[in-house]
Symmetry: C2
Subunit: 386 residues, 2 copies
Amino acid sequence: MVRLTGGDPSLLRRINSAVVLHALRGSGPLTLTELTRSTGLSRPTVEGVVEGLMESGLVVEAAAGSADARKQGRPARRFRFHAESGHLLGVEIGVHQVRVLLADLGGRMLGSYCYPVDELLDVDTRLERVRAGVAESLRRAEVARSTLWAVGVGSPGIVEANGRVGLSTAMPGWTGLALGERLGRSFKCPVLVENDANAAALGEHWLGAARGNDDVVFVMAGLSPGAGSLIGGRLHRGFGGAAGEIGALHLLGREATPERLLSTTDRPLDPLDEVAVTRVFSLAREGDARATEAVRRFLRRLVHDVAALALALDPELVVLGGWATGLDDVVEPLRDALARYCLRPPRVALSALGEEAVATGALRLALDHVEEQLFAVDRTAAAVLR
Amino acid sequence: MVRLTGGDPSLLRRINSAVVLHALRGSGPLTLTELTRSTGLSRPTVEGVVEGLMESGLVVEAAAGSADARKQGRPARRFRFHAESGHLLGVEIGVHQVRVLLADLGGRMLGSYCYPVDELLDVDTRLERVRAGVAESLRRAEVARSTLWAVGVGSPGIVEANGRVGLSTAMPGWTGLALGERLGRSFKCPVLVENDANAAALGEHWLGAARGNDDVVFVMAGLSPGAGSLIGGRLHRGFGGAAGEIGALHLLGREATPERLLSTTDRPLDPLDEVAVTRVFSLAREGDARATEAVRRFLRRLVHDVAALALALDPELVVLGGWATGLDDVVEPLRDALARYCLRPPRVALSALGEEAVATGALRLALDHVEEQLFAVDRTAAAVLR
């Protein structure tokens, strides 16, 4: 076995802590003997590390063992990862909803709360609704704000690395907003902001339709469609954070905006009016000729946009989401078109998380951040050798 | 300093060899003292490693030092990486040409040879031309086949990880061809096969228009356009090796094939007839109305395809190549369109390597393979800790 010797002792302690936490998290409660075995660390090292982790609240002694164990007199103490010692938030700040998901440090979901908002809210009012929604959610779940370790946020637009919204046409005043910084004032923990379609891709990969698929395009269908991509299980943000912003593609075909394509009159739909969209879809289902033609036009355009993404990226799977209704009508035409035009057609699936996809991905961002801190053994160890 | 102790001694030797080679390659000739200083290894270790590397031919003693050094009596021996001890090939197997680039282990170019071939050659004849071209190139450069360490190959089509062409419409019989295996029979060293646009992206990144840009889309313009992408400096092949195969995108717009768009008659052009394409472009330059209209139609389509790629991937830079002529007419319209439709428009540049782009990238593949073997210190060391 290769060992690290010498070097920064606090770094070694950190690596050993991560190794022990990792072992505890991947299994049920363990005794010190079992931890010594599973980590390869010495007994005194394990004892020291566990003591430190208990002091910081990340490890607790598990409840007394089974009747079997109790029968044998004094059973060995067992320890477990104390996931409930901290909490995470996943927040979607959308055009029509603020959604808040709450979980513990292990990623176990503790609550999901939705607060409808008006599409025309200005920035300050919308952020006020977000703060109120978060406060209300914490109250309802009886979770103290001080136990939050990280907050993930998903929102429309190009999001820069520093949490600033570079460009967003979806909500008034969103372009140029220092969203991460503004929200950060309400939290003592890190706030991580991500484009909504990117977040949804992470969410579906974690708990939804893309579990087990590492090369995924999530299509946020809508009047201004966007997409988020995972390549090899990692988010592909693009050089400037604009990857997958295919909404502009239809502009290349003059007049072919979705608002026009999906309109049953001479006037285009309001780009944010999802109710009108739903109405067109249900009219089409009832056999209305103009609506059927409008839906047909719109689907052809959406299929084209998604095909462009699939040809560019060659994903294993395309997940369709973003809308609550009407998407089932998209799946078959999309499958047909991709089968016909892609050299290697991807699978197509509907979102499994529906309206929770973005918030779920935002939560995953927060969880990734915390896991990076707690369990990042490989990277830390690898860094030692640089 | 953290040290690796224990472990597999041959692994340690390999790491130390890589460290010494890396140091020698990154500088001029070094003395043992200088090597000891720059690697952090002990003097006896450096001596042992250098001796082993000289036996294998990878290191040689440098020619006697400067007059200065000679004046001081017996100068210290200096050692250098013996790049000339081995050779690499980069081969493009294209529709109209077989191109062979020859370099030494340091990537220094020793020769570039082009052998025109007919677009309709069957597989066996085409491969025969490749073999003859390689033999002729080695002869002209006076390089022995036995000194080849790796051969990179770029060719049209979806190339699978095992070097098989999964699908290619560009050349007769290419689909399903076990290209890597067939070529491998002529070489004792590894043969690495890659899609031509992917190879060109690597080539432009290494020595061409994309130097210093790690997020790049190389567009292989043509009647059946394709693209190769680098993300974070690494090739993005896609889940099934089909990423960037945007040639099918035009099929979504009925009848809008490039062969039709670029035709000045009622009949489409032959998809492989680049001479006809060149003629249309030069007619347009002379002011011919039908040709001008045809070029305009074609450019609009190409711009659309590239915009789709740019929106999907958000690269820093788009490099246009693949054709010797006519591409200058594409740059400005493409820049305009991307500026108008992309949320964050990429830069657009013409290929700097022209007809050598694919072969240069193929050579880079071979060089990457060899460098992986010789200098991959970080990965080897990191693997120790897994």
